[in-house]
């Protein structure tokens, strides 16, 4: 094993990360994420780690608390990385590493070593170590044993995230894969809601479930951390077994995913349905919107997010809201409708030109006012996102366990339309002020700029938690009595969108050289 070269590659990865700080946006990103990470680590290590350890020791249930905390962190890191795309892609592809004098095993090691040393996984390790330190300080475990256990847990977590991401990436490329993905998503979103109440009622189900969970990595790590349960060898064996199995599975699925999918020779088939949709916005717009629509439809990222948007929002709306009556679902749904039209398209609409690669240059060679390009890109995002709002509304009217009320429908429509215009208006600015060259072919990996991430993640959190807070503070009756306020709010959002489009068209021309530099990788 050529360890020197592998560690040089790891070093190169960090040099590349550091190189991003040479740009203004990179420095801002580093500053903000640095502060955020430091603050979060501090809070979580204190509250989540040491605090949990204190609870564990005082309650006399050290192992159970360790299982719950490690299990929660494990699943959150897994879901967080798969959903947001942070830390999911290895920095170097196998193909890129073939130029170096290293064999297949060394390439595998180099890829995953650079992968697991991504900042997000170091952050997760910090959280695991927080608990480990807490347990040690309060006398509930041995530090080094716990540290080794959480290190192995982190490796298992990273590998499982990679397996899931590669599986989804592969499914997104194969015929019928999108339907399988949709089924998987529905299962993940619906299963806990269906299963947990039944398990709670079934006699002995809890014990049976815990007996199964004892064979999972977080439970094995928890047992090692508090030095409890079956022998050390057994727990280490479990962790190593999981890591080995995941590695073998990952290598197999990566091999499958890397198989060339070369297209057979075929004559051109003319399909102008996209241009026909584009023609709704006028004859000049038809080819532009047709082109952009093809990008939306062919992007695995957009397809995945589009099909995931409604199940995720349904899960967020219908979990933990209906205990006090079905009307609470409605208040939560206001947030879901506000973000629905944006969530499915955000990976592209917040970075309208990031997927065009050198094609971006061509826009300015076309015999058309450049502002039209921006309009076409934004109208396409609106049209695709609008279809999600419409689908959400139909599903709500058909299936929501809430009695029909005209005011509710008006509020939901106003929130859906208002959110669509508001977020797409903001997306115009992230596309113009923080553009980023993005790989069109991948399904995973967070390639959005800091501003786009703030808009997307901040938007989702604000809508979901904002309406949850509104539900708790005011209640459905009060919200419904002010139903009419949603209409001027939507009108304001529409005005903001068109004003942004107008100002953005001018900025698109004046900033074109900066956009060219950013999108062609020169800054």
């Amino acid at each position: 094993m050529n360890a020197t070269l592998i560690f040089r590659l790891v070093g190169l990865r960090y040099k590349l990360l550091w190189a991003q700080t040479r740009t203004r946006n990179g420095r801002i990103a580093l500053f903000v994420t640095g502060y955020l990470l430091a603050a979060l680590i501090l809070i979580l290590m204190t509250a989540g780690g040491v605090g949990a350890a204190m609870v564990a020791v005082r309650s006399g249930h050290a192992e159970k608390v360790a299982q719950a905390v490690l299990g929660g962190l494990f699943l959150n890191a897994l879901a967080g990385s798969v959903i947001t795309g942070f830390g999911i892609n290895t920095a170097f592809t196998d193909q890129a590493l073939r130029r170096y004098a290293i064999d297949a095993r060394e390439r595998l090691a180099a890829r995953h070593l650079t992968g697991i040393l991504e900042p997000v996984w170091i952050f997760v390790l910090g959280l695991y170590l927080g608990l480990c330190t807490g347990m040690y300080v309060f006398g509930a475990g041995a530090f080094w044993l716990g540290a080794v256990a959480v290190l192995l847990l982190l490796i298992a977590d990273y590998l499982l995230a990679r397996v899931l991401a590669t599986l989804i990436e592969w499914l997104a490329h194969v015929k019928g894969g999108t339907a399988i993905l949709f089924g998987m998503l529905l299962t993940v979103c619906m299963l806990p809601g269906l299963l947990i109440p039944r398990l709670a009622k079934a006699h002995g189900a809890r014990e049976a479930m815990l007996a199964v969970l004892a064979y999972t990595p977080p439970f094995a790590a928890a047992a090692l951390m508090v030095n409890a349960g079956a022998g050390l060898l057994h727990q280490f064996g479990l962790l190593f077994g999981w890591i080995a199995a995941l590695l073998v599975f990952l290598a197999g699925i990566e091999k499958q995913a890397a198989r060339p999918r070369g297209a057979a020779a075929a004559a051109a088939t003319w399909d102008n349905r996209y241009e026909r949709i584009g023609a709704i916005f006028g004859p000049t717009m038809a080819p532009l919107i047709g082109r952009t629509l093809r990008y939306y439809v062919r992007s695995n990222k957009v397809r995945f997010n589009y099909i995931a948007a409604i199940p995720i929002l349904a899960f967020l709306t219908f979990s933990n809201a209906g205990e006090s009556g079905p009307l609470h679902y409605f208040v939560r749904a206001l947030g879901a409708f506000t973000i629905a039209g944006f969530l499915g398209t955000a990976v592209m609409s917040t970075n309208q030109f990031g997927f065009d690669s050198s094609g971006f240059r061509r826009y300015f060679l076309l015999p058309i006012a450049p502002g039209e390009i921006l309009r076409a890109a934004s109208y396409t995002a609106m049209a695709v996102g609008g279809s999600l709002v419409a689908a959400a509304l139909v599903l709500w009217l058909l299936f929501a366990p809430v009695p029909f009320d005209g005011r509710m429908a008006a509020m939901l429509i106003a929130c859906g339309v208002g959110g669509l215009f508001l977020f797409n208006g903001l997306s115009i600015w992230t596309s113009l002020l923080a553009p980023r060259a993005t790989n069109f072919e991948t399904t995973f990996g967070n390639q959005l700029s800091l501003s786009a991430n703030i808009l997307l993640i901040g938007g989702v959190l604000a809508c979901v938690f904002g309406t949850a807070a509104l539900d708790r503070a005011a209640g459905p009756a009060a919200v419904l009595s002010y139903w009419w306020t949603s209409i001027p709010a939507a009108a304001l959002a529409i005005a903001f969108y068109f004003y942004s489009l107008r100002l953005g068209a001018a900025a698109f021309v004046s900033r074109r050289e900066r956009l060219l530099n950013a999108l062609e990788g020169r800054s």
Binding site: A286, G290, S357
Partner: protein, 269 residues
């Protein structure tokens, strides 16, 4: 006899391109400095210079991609700026980076280009089919542009530049990566285009190609300074070009003399 031409030369017919005092700066860096140039209509014009001398920047300014810092540009007799939509419709451009939309199929991309340049649907389809056949790209209907080889991508970009029958064509490094048969076809088409009175403005580093293809040549050196412009017919006619009282048997010799480029010696190689 060709000679150094620091100023735009007066022409009887309307020149295809007239540039006076073109300057492009990036901050403090000067990419093109006070460039004046006249390209006669109906010529195959070779625009030459070493790497980083400002050829692509000049083309960027002449096609509306970049804003000149100073200077005046007239294209086909009319003042040119980035908003000159009617003029852009008469131009075809093959940028150095090709400017392809990688997620599209070749026929979709060419159809998009044709429609944007005002061709009706039927004409656009016919020309796309003809061009794809001519470029030997007929069987690529299910292959995205991102999956094309470098040579195939270049052919598509060339097709996009000519699909609407422009009066003025800019080709930035058109022959690199294309196989000999493809280069021969493109050269033949370019001769035909020029014979019809249309103008081709091309950059390349393959000087032998320029010798055989172009009638008129301009050489610039860093930073975008014109050092020579003239007709290179003398090479065919007399076997030499005179400049500064010296005779040059090939365009390469003249180029190296003007640009001061030297062959570096690496002892270890």
């Amino acid at each position: 006899m060709p000679q150094a031409v620091p100023q735009a030369m007066p022409q009887v017919a309307t020149p295809a391109i007239e540039v006076a005092g073109l300057t492009k700066k990036y901050g403090e860096t000067v990419a093109v400095e006070n460039l004046s140039l006249t390209v006669p209509s109906g010529t195959l014009f070779g625009f030459l210079g070493p790497n980083g001398s400002g050829k692509s920047t000049t083309i960027g300014c002449l096609t509306g991609l970049l804003d000149p810092t100073a200077g005046e540009i007239r294209i086909l007799g009319e003042p040119f700026h980035d908003g000159a939509v009617a003029l852009k419709r008469r131009m075809g451009v093959m940028p150095e980076s090709l400017g392809l939309f990688d997620a599209l199929y070749a026929h979709e991309f060419l159809f998009f280009q044709a429609r944007m340049f005002g061709l009706d649907e039927e004409t656009a389809r016919r020309r796309v089919t003809e061009l794809l056949d001519a470029m030997e790209l007929g069987g690529t209907g299910k292959k995205r542009l991102s999956e094309f080889s470098a040579g195939m991508r270049k052919r598509v970009a060339f097709a996009a530049a000519v699909i609407h029958g422009p009066d003025l064509i800019f080709l930035d490094e058109p022959f690199e990566s294309i196989d000999p048969a493809g280069v021969a076809s493109i050269k033949q088409w370019l001769h035909k285009i020029a014979a019809q009175g249309r103008t081709v403005f091309l950059t390349t580093h393959v000087l032998e190609t320029v010798e055989r293809l172009c009638s008129e040549v301009a050489i610039i050196t860093k930073p975008g300074k014109l050092v020579w412009q003239g007709n290179i017919g003398a090479l065919d006619r007399d076997g030499t070009i005179s400049h500064d009282g010296k005779e040059f048997g090939t365009l390469e010799q003249l180029f190296l003399h003007l640009t001061g480029e030297r062959y570096a010696q690496l002892e270890w190689l």
